[in-house]
Amino acid sequence: MRAALVVGKYVALLAFVCFFLMPVYVMVITALKDPAQVSVARMWDLPDTVSLDGFRAVWPKLQNGFVNSVLLAVPVSVVSALLGAANGFVLSKWRFPGADFVFPLILFGMFIPYQSVLIPMVQLMSTVGLQGGLDGLILVHIIYGLPITTLIFRSYFTGISDELIDAAKVDGAGMLRTFLYVALPIAPPAFAVAMIWQFTSAWNDFLFGVMLTSTDYWPITVALNNIAGGQQVPFHQVMASALLACVPTLLVYVLLGRFFMRGLMAGALKG
C-alpha cells in the first residue's frame, strides 16, 4: 500500500511536469521546424529535420526590441536596487517617526492596478517629453519598482542585528557612513534578489512598454506581440520569436533561481 502511494506520488509529479512543459515543447519543436513542415494538423509532431530558419527569419525583426529591452532592464534593475537598499535600510534600521506608517503606504504601490495611474502617467510623460523613447520607460519602471525593492531590502536588513548598527554609531558613524560601510557590504544577497526581480519585471512588462515607446524603441514584448499578431506570419517564426524573447529571463531563472525565489516570496509579505 505504501509503495503504491509512493509510485502514485511520482506519477502525479511527472504528470504535472508534462503539463507545465507541454507549452515549452510546442514552442521549441515549432520554432525548430522547417517552414514546409509547419502546419496546424502536425502541431504535436516532432520536426523531421531541425531547421533554424525560423530564428534566422525573425531575429532581424526582433533584434531592435531585444536591444531596447536590455537597455531598459539593466539600468532599471541597478537603480531600483540601489534606491531600494537606501529606503529599506532607513525603514528598518534608522527609523524616523512615522516610518512604520509610511511603509504600508509604500507597499500599497506594489499592488495597485496600473490602469488606475496609466492616464495621468502618459499625460505627464508626454508633457515633459519623455514619451516615445526609452528614458520615460526606464524612469517609470524604476519608480514603480521602488515598493518591491524597498520591501526586499527592508526585510533583509530587519534580519541583521540592531547591535551592529549600534556598534557603528558608538564607533562614530552617522547614518550615511553606517549605510555605506556596514549595511551595504552585507547586502549583496538582497541586491541579487532585487536586481533579478526588477530585471525580470522590466523585461516582461508589456503595458508600460506599449504606452510609452514608439516603434524604434519598442521593448521586446511589444515587438513580439506585433510579430505574433501580424497576419500571415508563419507559426515557426512566431514560436521562434517567443522563444528568443524568453531566453534572457529563463537563463537568469535557471542560473540564479535561488534569488528569483526569494523575490517571489518577498512579495507575499511573509513577516
Binding site: 542585528s161 551592529l164 556598534a167 558608538v170 564607533d171 558613524a173
Partner: protein, 381 residues
C-alpha cells in the same frame, strides 16, 4: 580618564513604561562599576543612555565635566562591547579594530600603530586578516574588546559581554577582564544579570530593580549590609533564607525557635521578615551561639562542602521582592510542586556528618541575623 555622573536619569518609553526612574550614580574616574539586576530592571537601558543610543527622558548625564545628555553616540567618546560582540561581518579583524579610529579621522599611521599594539596585547596578531566568521567565540570576544580598547575612549561600556560564553570560559574571562582593567585603568560601566559576576568584578556595584536604584556600594557592603529585602535576596548564592518571625522582648521567634534579636531591635515588638544566609549557620559547637534542631530533607554534595536543605514549620515568605530577586514572575514560577512551608539552605563543610532524616543541631551566628520590614522590605538592623 573621566568619571561618569548620572543625575536623576529617567527613561520613559512610549506607552508609559518607565524603564529607568530617577537614577543617581557617580562613577569615579578609573572605577570599574557594575550595574546588576534581574532582566527588565533597566540596566541595559541605562547603559544605552550613557552611550547615547537611547535618548534621555529626564535628568542629565555627565562624561567628565561635559554634559553629554543631548549628544549623539557619535559625539561622545565612549566605546561599547556588546553581548553579541557586533563585529562587522564583512571586515577583517584589522578593519574591525580600526573602524572607530577611521570614523574619527585618525591619521592612518597612528591608526595602524594602535591596531598593531592592541592586537599584540590581546594575542590577535595572527588573526588580523581573518573575518569574524572565521573566528571562535572567544576570539570574537577579544576582537570586540580590542575594538573598544583601540579607541582609548573616556569610558568602556560593556553589555553582558560574557553571557554568550559557556560557564567555565566565563569564569576565566572574568579574571582576564579584571587584569585588563588593572592594566588600562579606564572607567568602566559593566552590565550583567549575574550577581556573581557583579560581585567578583565590580569595585562598586549598583543594584537595580524595576528601574530604581536599590543600593550602590562595594560588594562587601552589599553582602553584609543589604539595605532592603530585594538586595538581600538578590546578592549571594545560594540566596539568603527568609522566614516570617515575631520580635518581642529582645528575642525573635519563628517555627518554635527563639533566637536573640539583633541589637537594633532589642526594644521592639513587631513582626518582621527574618533573613539568615546559608553561611550564617555552623555545626553546633560550644561557642555560646543559639542553636536549633533541624531534620535535613535534601543534602547536595559539592565536594568540599555540602548544602543541607530542611523544612521549617512556618509558611514560605512570599513577597514580591523575593520573587523579583529570583526572577520569578509569580509565586508558582519557582516551584515544580506546590508547597507552602519555608525551606532553608545551609552551607556546611563536608566533614560534618549529615544524613537525610537524621536530626541535626545547628548553631546560628547572632551577628548574622537580618530583619526586614514585612511591608516595605527595608532593612531594620
Amino acid at each position: 580618564m573621566a568619571g561618569i555622573r548620572l543625575e536623576r536619569v529617567t527613561k520613559r518609553f512610549r506607552g508609559g513604561v518607565v524603564a529607568v526612574r530617577d537614577v543617581d550614580l557617580d562613577v569615579a574616574p578609573g572605577e570599574f562599576m557594575v550595574l546588576v539586576g534581574p532582566s527588565g530592571c533597566g540596566k541595559s537601558t541605562l547603559l544605552r543612555m550613557i552611550a547615547g543610543l537611547e535618548p534621555v527622558s529626564g535628568g542629565r548625564i555627565f562624561l567628565g565635566e561635559k554634559d553629554v545628555t543631548d549628544h549623539l553616540p557619535q559625539e561622545r567618546d565612549v566605546a561599547m562591547v556588546f553581548q553579541s560582540y557586533a563585529l562587522y561581518p564583512r571586515m577583517s579583524v584589522r578593519r574591525n579594530l580600526g573602524f572607530g579610529l577611521r570614523m574619527r579621522r585618525t591619521a592612518r599611521v597612528e591608526r595602524e600603530r594602535r591596531v598593531a599594539e592592541v592586537a599584540s596585547v590581546l594575542g590577535l596578531e595572527h588573526l588580523l586578516d581573518r573575518r569574524p566568521g572565521a573566528l571562535s567565540g572567544g576570539q570574537r570576544q577579544r576582537v570586540a574588546m580590542g575594538r573598544a580598547i583601540v579607541r582609548e575612549p573616556k569610558a568602556f561600556l560593556m553589555d553582558e559581554p560574557l553571557s554568550n560564553l559557556d560557564a567555565k570560559l566565563r569564569v576565566s574571562m572574568r579574571a582576564q577582564l579584571s587584569l585588563l582593567h588593572q592594566r588600562l585603568g579606564t572607567t568602566t560601566v559593566y552590565v550583567t544579570h549575574d550577581q556573581v559576576e557583579a560581585m567578583t568584578l565590580g569595585q562598586r556595584v549598583a543594584v537595580l530593580r524595576d528601574g530604581t536604584l536599590q543600593q550602590y556600594d562595594t560588594p562587601q557592603n552589599l553582602f553584609r549590609h543589604p539595605v532592603n529585602l530585594f538586595v538581600a535576596a538578590f546578592i549571594g548564592s545560594p540566596a539568603m533564607n527568609f522566614v516570617h518571625a515575631a520580635v518581642s522582648g529582645g528575642a525573635v521567634s519563628f517555627a518554635g525557635t527563639r533566637l536573640p534579636a539583633p541589637s537594633a531591635l532589642s526594644d521592639v515588638d513587631r513582626r518582621v521578615v527574618l533573613g539568615i544566609r546559608p553561611t550564617g549557620f555552623s555545626p553546633s559547637a560550644d561557642n555560646g551561639w543559639p542553636t536549633l534542631e533541624v531534620v535535613p530533607e535534601i543534602v547536595e554534595e559539592l565536594g568540599d562542602e555540602r548544602y543541607v536543605i530542611f523544612e521549617l514549620d512556618a509558611p514560605r515568605v512570599d513577597t514580591e521582592a523575593v520573587h523579583a530577586a529570583l526572577e520569578a514572575q509569580s509565586a508558582d514560577d519557582a516551584l515544580l510542586l506546590p508547597e507552602n512551608r519555608a525551606r532553608f539552605t545551609v552551607r556546611l563543610p563536608a566533614d560534618v556528618p549529615v544524613s537525610v532524616g537524621e536530626p541535626l543541631r545547628l548553631a546560628v551566628n547572632p551577628e548574622r541575623l537580618y530583619a526586614f520590614d514585612q511591608d516595605t522590605g527595608a532593612a531594620l538592623s
